[in-house]
Symmetry: C3
Subunit: 208 residues, 3 copies
């Protein structure tokens, strides 16, 4: 294969921003889907739609990576970042899917809280991703990454509280099985956001 | 350590084919094990036996990788491919094991459907792995990878249908817990097959 | 960034040993926490405390890795090893946390058995990690890694036995859900120990 040494079209940053924008929109749609008490099926369908849009951006990054000899930073870091960004929306899609498969109609309020921190985290990642193309944004990017870490810690407690409440108050074991999974998946979204933040931090430190 | 620059015995392709053949045989044994209504314990034992055979081939790849200075393609890709091929049979082994631990006797028909797509996917991977040593097979290998992706998408729907049916029709929560896990693990086999296909695709694109 | 070619402070081995020591102490605390029939909350709190101590050592390794140009062995292997060592205590922390969230008071004796093999495995990893800085310890390190593999195999059977017993004897589905997870997480600790051992083996083989 002929490598492009200085390929014009190797817009990794643009593609990361596209991925990140899909995450922000999906987090918004998910928050709308679960916030009305009853599940909003239209907003939920939006998450699924955004997930395939995000897949295209991810695929484009991988293609670029295979074609470019010179990359703006470590190939492995590009791969990790694009994967983490994609995993975020994949997991939001999984939760949306499970809400439908389990025929959930009434949304428990703990999930609404998760949706709010997910949205805040997706927006903080967006700030970090947009900032990373210019080292002048170093402090701003690092602050966004720290915020993502903080939100992840909060979500750990949220999951513990939600699970403890579920096992204490819910009598139907099948309902417990369903919501245990939903809460754990919600917290996993936050873990993956923190993974993405760690990749961004590590890229910034190496370039500083 | 002395590196072999052109080691005679560095038959990575041969070892990948050995791994892949174990996967095909295990998928066949698994399909036989679950297709007769009642669980076929002899066929199930075959999956376990093949899993340790596959482990040896995986181990041989890792050993080769540590010894060889020149490899037919990226070291990281060799590692990813051998791991993905091994993860496939590991997960089939896990399902086989759980069927026994949970003392399942009657096999639900949804699992038979999964067994059929698993076998089709293992055979498609075998076509891809056998083809990848010669760039003349480019189109054939890529077509096999696309087929694996298609089967993975089908298996997503199969899992959703199986889970929705389980939660709707099954009254015993313990049976729900058992089969929920089995269906999810079956779909995970297909996810790992798709991972393996992505590694093959990426190797082919880089070499094209 | 200015790389340190021969950085004085790049004590990767020291940091690995610090991580490993946290694992050993946490495994001891966990064993004490679950061995008295009733859950020992003080010992359990110790696991949580050690987990954040271990996080600092992990963070220090990552920071060193980003700063050092020359490392005692492959950067990727350093990353894998520090991650595996950290994953061990993270998973012990997860189990400790779940015991509290699920308001477990009476500890099932199968978990005590897991705690004993976890402790043995953490100590074997400690032997391996301490030995790996000097190639004269090659045989000793490899023997410790084999011991970790052996313990992992034992823990697979322990999990199968524990799960089979749980599903056969326990009538309350909610108790089944809780303990199924605890046993699986306990076995996952052993899987991660085996991952760590594989990284150590691979480092030793490359350097031999």
């Amino acid at each position: 294969m002929l490598f492009n040494f200085f390929p014009k079209d190797a817009n990794f940053f643009e593609l990361f921003e596209k991925q990140s924008l899909c995450n922000v929109k999906a987090a918004e749609a998910f928050r709308i889907a679960v916030s009305g008490g009853m599940l909003n099926m239209e907003a939920l369908a939006q998450v699924v739609k955004l997930e395939s849009e995000a897949d295209e951006a991810t695929h484009a990054v991988i293609m670029q990576l295979n074609k470019c000899f010179i990359t703006p930073f470590d190939r492995e870091d590009i791969h990790s970042l694009t994967k983490a960004l994609d995993d975020i929306i994949d997991m939001m899609n999984t939760i949306s899917n499970r809400l439908q498969v389990y025929k959930i109609t009434d949304v428990k309020k703990n999930l609404v809280e998760f949706a709010l921190v997910m949205e805040a985290s997706a927006k903080a990642i967006d700030t970090a991703v947009k900032g990373m193309k210019d080292m002048q944004n170093y402090d701003k990017v690092m602050a966004a990454c720290m915020e993502i870490s903080r939100l992840e810690n909060i979500s750990d407690s949220m999951r513990d509280t939600a699970l403890a409440g579920l096992f204490e108050n819910e009598k139907d074991p099948v309902v417990i099985v369903k919501w245990k999974e939903l809460y754990e998946e919600a917290e996993t979204v936050m873990d993956i956001c923190a993974d993405a933040a760690h990749v961004v931090e590590s890229i910034m430190i190496k370039q500083a």
